[in-house]
Subunit: 181 residues, 2 copies
């Protein structure tokens, strides 16, 4: 186990309102020095929710990803607001994006997306015992909701338009979680 | 299937040498307009490699993640250089980070990390038939290599220090791929 590097300086480089970038000077325990840049996300992080209307089915959404400039399938997700609990954030996001709330919400894991370059965690939440409820969101268009049978996981993972790493990881982790229950 | 939004303008917002950020004006097919920011990665993207010294074992690396400010386990990965083939990039990265080359390299999938905010793809490569060979890398310290039995996947996914979404997704996808072979 290596000793953590010492961070001797941090300098803000850019803040675009959405992205805050800082530069860090590091000295590793072997004396090597490096200057790295990273994006500083919120301390609260984000939630990704796997909503299950029944024990065999998950709900995906199809929405436009501006970063990739295409429509893709994924699980609903969103930022946790300041002061908001992570399960409350999960329940708000599915009401905004899927049109359901959940009476049973469980955090099953937390994942990172680009740990070398980004300070950010996404908490994966399993949502069951759903009820119909829609909250207004800030989406530019109605989000398409697509039910998918867990038994057909292979077909989903093979699709060109289902490729977000967090959604793929969540899908497999949820299946393992359910098998253990 | 929604019609793609029209991107009416793109403006560069920041370029820190590592991160290039642009702002885009979009008009969705329903007439709604939005202004989004995204990080523009390389067209080549990155590779994540799952090296297998034998049919039961994968090789993980333990290295410092500056974004999260901690040491974590993950599969080796790196950027594809301009003009470099993706399998060549995979073979170079494992020689730099793990100390092995591979005679058998197969792309099994491509994943995104934050499709709403980032233009970037990571190609997952399975590397087999390994041989000892080390290329000099730019890492600040020697990378620890940790063999892990695929049969113990559950223990790995439950670990606090194995949480990168692409590595978790790759691990499950590789297991499915091998089961089908």
């Amino acid at each position: 186990m290596s000793k953590h590097p010492v961070i001797s300086a941090r300098r803000p480089l850019a803040n675009t309102g959405i992205f805050r970038i800082e530069e860090m000077d590091l000295e590793f325990s072997n004396g090597q020095t490096r200057c790295y840049q990273r994006i500083v996300g919120s301390n609260e992080g984000a939630v990704l929710i796997v909503p299950m209307p029944d024990p065999q089915t998950v709900l995906l959404i199809r929405e436009y990803s501006a970063g990739m400039e295409r429509y893709d399938l994924a699980f609903p997700k969103g930022h946790i607001e300041s002061g908001e609990g992570l399960l409350d954030a999960a329940n708000r996001e599915i009401q905004e994006e899927v049109g359901y709330g959940a009476r049973r919400l469980e955090k099953i894991s937390s994942v990172t997306v680009a740990p070398g370059y980004l300070y950010h965690s996404t908490h994966i939440v399993l949502a069951r015992d759903l009820y119909t409820r829609r909250l207004p969101g800030d989406e530019p268009e109605l989000i398409e909701v697509i039910p998918w049978r867990l038994a057909d996981l292979d077909d989903l993972v093979g699709r060109e338009d289902f490729n977000e790493a967090r959604s793929i990881a969540a899908l497999f982790m949820i299946r393992e979680w359910l098998e253990k229950e």
